[in-house]
């Protein structure tokens, strides 16, 4: 604070999101130094503020894992469910209360590991839930075990000589199952993460945003990137803007919006129409 004598009252914070959307008494949060989940949560609450939503109209559902702890810090209607079952819970809430904004924040294990089948069926139904899949490519909370999205050849606690299995692509899975908004972004560009999450929140139907995130403690430390700064530079160097997750360019990871379909009817609305007819 350099300007304390300089009429401090005329300086206002540039963002009111933390005051409105965070349970500040629970901070500091439990995530490790440099963890990307905090950056993503910041972008989610910035978009809530930008859209002008009320705290009581937002339902924030999470499962288990590092990402699951996010529901404890958001000042909205929050629900911390059992492992992998964030999307069925969110589906039930949306069917009962179609007027509410239902946001599910999943980890990679929660979304496509133990909750993989629920993910596929939520996408098939096109339920109006925004699924933010935080893909840190490892099971962080339990000690760095291999997850479905760990890249082939990467090391983890349970694959000390490198992962022999091919990894799962969340965006291809979502596209194949019929999600109507599919995008992939990474935390090295947080403003872009916010823009894409904002589009997904406004989308009427099942919206999937896969956010590649850094886990410096487990994924980074086992794979030669113990510093979060190194991991963000790795994201910048190893991703490229694409129109489809099938695009290939020197073995890099495609990012961008892969699908934005506004014509497919949303489930809770089609159900209401049937009910009212």
């Amino acid at each position: 604070m350099v300007n304390e004598n300089d009429a401090e009252a005329s300086f206002v914070p540039m963002s009111s999101a933390p005051d409105k959307w965070l349970r500040k008494e629970h901070l500091p949060h439990i995530w490790c130094p440099g963890c990307g989940i905090g950056t993503i949560l910041r972008q989610v609450i910035e978009q809530f503020t930008k859209l002008g939503w009320k705290n009581d109209d937002v339902v924030f559902v999470t499962g288990i894992g590092c990402t699951g702890r996010a529901s404890g810090y958001v000042n909205a209607q929050t629900l911390h469910t059992i492992h992998g079952r964030a999307l069925p819970t969110a589906t039930g809430i949306k069917m009962a209360r179609p007027d509410m904004h239902v946001v599910a924040m999943l980890g990679d294990g929660d979304g496509v590991g133990i909750g993989g089948n629920h993910f596929i069926h939520a996408a098939k139904r096109n339920i109006g839930v925004t699924a933010i899949v935080v893909n840190n490519r490892i099971y962080g909370m339990t000690g760095g075990q291999v997850s479905p999205t760990t890249p082939q050849g990467s090391k983890s606690t349970t694959t000390p000589y490198g992962n022999v299995e091919p990894s799962m692509d969340v965006c291809k899975l979502a596209l194949g199952a019929g999600a109507t908004f599919v995008a992939r972004v990474h935390t090295a560009n947080p403003v872009y993460v916010g823009q894409i999450i904002g589009r997904a929140l406004q989308h009427d139907g099942f919206a999937v945003v896969e956010v590649l995130s850094q886990c410096p403690t487990y994924f980074g430390r086992f794979n030669g990137m113990p510093d979060p700064v190194q991991m963000l530079q790795w994201f910048k160097e190893n991703t490229f803007m694409a129109k489809s997750p099938e695009d290939e360019k020197e073995g890099k990871i495609p990012i961008g919006v892969f699908k934005d379909d506004k014509t497919t009817p949303e489930l809770s609305k089609s159900y209401r129409n049937l009910w009212e007819a």
């Binding site: 914070p13 901070l27 949060h29 905090g38 950056t39 972008q43």
Partner: protein
């Protein structure tokens, strides 16, 4: 006269160093005793907001002088 000011809540900061990476004006420095971020050069802030957008610990607040262009 500068239009922006930066503060870091040292209670929340976990010394990851991401603000030092993104800041284009070298506003932040990690202090020696515990590695936490300090806005040593807050007068140079141009209000690009990249630091609080990336800060995973909600520690950074950027202030704008009322009426100034962002």
């Amino acid at each position: 006269m500068n239009k922006f000011d930066v503060s870091v809540d040292t209670r929340l900061c976990k010394a990851c160093g991401l603000c030092v990476l993104v800041c284009p004006k070298k506003v932040f420095e990690l202090r020696d005793e515990d590695g936490k971020s300090v806005p040593v050069n807050a007068l140079a802030c141009i209000g690009c907001t990249q630091c609080y957008q990336i800060c995973p610990d909600f520690a950074i607040t950027v202030y704008k002088k009322e009426g100034a262009l962002a």
